[in-house]
C-alpha cells in the first residue's frame, strides 16, 4: 500500500534530483519559457512517466493515455510562456492532466449511456487475461487474485464518479496529499477528503465479502 510515507508526488529518481535542487526547476522553466528546447524536454522527462502512469490508470486504455500525454504536454508547451510561478509547476501540470482525464472519463460516461461501452472495457480486460502465464510469473500476487475479484474492482472503479475516481487515483496510486489534490482540482482539502471517503465506501460495499 502506498500511503503516508510519500510526502509529495512520487516522480522517480529524475524528479528527486529536481526536488533537492528546487532552484533548478525554476531555472529550467525559465529557460523553456525563453525557447530552450532542451530545457523543455528535460522538464517533460522529469514528469512524463508519472503523467503516463496516471492517465493509464485512470483511463485504462493505452490509446487514451497516449492522447492525454500528447495533449497535456502540448498544452504545457503552448501555455508555458504565461506560467507565472504563482503555483507549483507540479500543480499546474497536474491540473492540465487531470482536466484532460476528466474530459475523457465524462465522454465515456455519455457514450456508456448511449450504447454499450461495456464491450470495449471487457475487451481490454480480455486482453489482460489473454496473457495469464506472463502475468503469473511477473507478479505472483496477481495470480492469487481471482479473476472475479479483479473484475469486481474494475467495476467499482468504473462506478465511481469521475471526481471520486480522480481523488482516489491521485491519493492511492500517485501518493499525492489531499491538500495538493484539492489545489490541483481547484477545490478544498475537505472536498477532496469527502471524495476519498465516498470512493472508499464504494469499494467497501462492493468488495465487502472479500474482506
Amino acid at each position: 500500500m502506498k500511503t503516508g510515507a510519500t510526502l509529495a508526488l512520487d516522480h522517480g529518481p529524475c524528479r528527486a534530483v529536481g526536488q533537492n535542487l528546487g532552484m533548478d526547476e525554476a531555472a529550467l522553466i525559465r529557460a523553456a519559457q525563453a525557447g530552450d528546447q532542451d530545457a523543455f524536454e528535460r522538464l517533460v522527462r522529469d514528469y512524463d512517466q508519472s503523467v503516463l502512469r496516471l492517465a493509464m490508470n485512470l483511463l485504462r486504455s493505452p490509446e487514451d493515455a497516449h492522447d492525454v500525454y500528447q495533449e497535456a504536454f502540448l498544452r504545457v508547451y503552448r501555455n508555458l510562456p504565461s506560467f507565472r510561478f504563482d503555483c507549483n509547476f507540479n500543480t499546474w501540470l497536474y491540473r492540465i492532466v487531470t482536466n484532460l482525464c476528466l474530459d475523457h472519463l465524462r465522454k465515456r460516461k455519455v457514450r456508456k449511456t448511449e450504447s454499450s461501452v461495456v464491450e470495449t472495457e471487457e475487451g481490454s480486460i480480455d486482453r489482460m487475461d489473454s496473457v495469464p502465464e506472463q502475468r503469473a510469473s511477473s507478479d505472483p500476487q496477481r495470480a492469487l487474485l481471482s479473476s472475479e475479484l479483479r473484475t469486481r474492482i474494475q467495476q467499482v472503479l468504473a462506478g465511481m464518479t469521475p471526481r471520486e475516481r480522480l481523488v482516489f487515483e491521485l491519493r492511492h496510486f500517485q501518493g499525492m496529499r489531499l491538500r495538493a489534490i484539492g489545489e490541483t482540482l481547484g477545490t478544498t482539502e475537505e472536498a477532496a477528503k469527502n471524495c476519498l471517503f465516498r470512493a472508499t465506501q464504494k469499494m467497501r460495499s462492493a468488495l465487502g465479502e472479500f474482506v
Binding site: 500500500m1 474492482i153 477528503k193 471517503f197 467497501r204
Partner: protein, 307 residues
Amino acid sequence: MNCETARQQIVLLIYGELSFEEEEILESHLDACVECNQERARLEKLSSFADLAESEVPAGLLARCRRDLTAALEQERRRPSLSSIFRGFWQKWFVNPPMWMRPAGALAMLAVGFFGARLLPDQSSALSQIGVSQGPPPTISKVRLVNPDNSGQVLVHYDEVRPRELRGNINDDRIRRLLLAAAADPADPGLRVDSIDILKSQTSDNEVRHALLNVLRADTNSGVRLKALDALRPYAKDPDTRKTLAQVLLSDDNPAVRTQAIDLLVQSKEPDVAGVLQQLLQNEENGYVRSRSQKALNDMKASVGTF
C-alpha cells in the same frame, strides 16, 4: 469519540492524512473498540486489493508517447507564424534585392550588408565557432520570443541560419561535429542515416558513441535507430551500450530493432542478459521476437521462467 466519527477517520488514518493529535484520539478509540478496529483491518485489506488493480503501462508506450510528442512539437514549431513572415522578408532582401536597389549596385548592397550586420550580429551559430568561412548572409529560421516593454521597444529572440559548406577529412573535429549535428537533425531521416553511416568508423570516440546511443534511444525513425544499432555493434560489451540496448529491448516499438538488440546483447555473453530477456518475455507480444529471445535464453542455458 463515537464510532461514526471513527469510521470516517479510519480512511484518513490509512492514508496518513490525520494530524498527530487526531491520530492519537482515533488510536485510543481503536484500542478500546473491537468493531472499529476490525473495520480498520478490513479497509487496509481493501486498500491492498486496489493496489492489484493498478494497470501497467504497456511496454513501448512511453517511448511511443515521447516520439509522438517530439514530432508534434516539431510541427508546432513549424506552424506558420511571425517567423515565416520574417523569413520571407529577409530572403527577399538578401537573396533577391528589389529592382530599384540594383542600379545602385555595390553601394546599395553594402548598405544592406551594414543593415544586416547591425541587426543580425554573427554570434550564435555553432558554425561560426568552428571557423567555417563566410558564406551567404543568414536568414531567420524562427522567432522564439517577442517581448514589448513600457518604453515602446520590443525584444525579439530569434534563430538565424546561414548556408555554408565545409570539406575535410572525417578525422577533422569540425567535420565530425557537423556530422553529429546532422545525425540529430529532426527534419531529415535520410541525412541522419547517411551521417551515421559515416560516423560508424568513429565509434572509438566517446562523443560519437554517446550520440549514437541517443539516436538509438530517441530517434523517431526506426530505420535510423537500426543504423545506429548497427554502428554500435563493435561496442556490445561497453556498459553504456549494454544499458541502452536493454532499455531499447524493453521499450522500442519496432520488432526489428528489438530483434537486433537481442542479437547484440547476446554477443556480450554477460550473465545479466538473461534477466533482461526474461523481463522481455513478460510483455513481448511479437512472436518472432519472443522466439528469438527464448532461443537466446536456451542457448545461454538459462531457465525461461525463473528470475
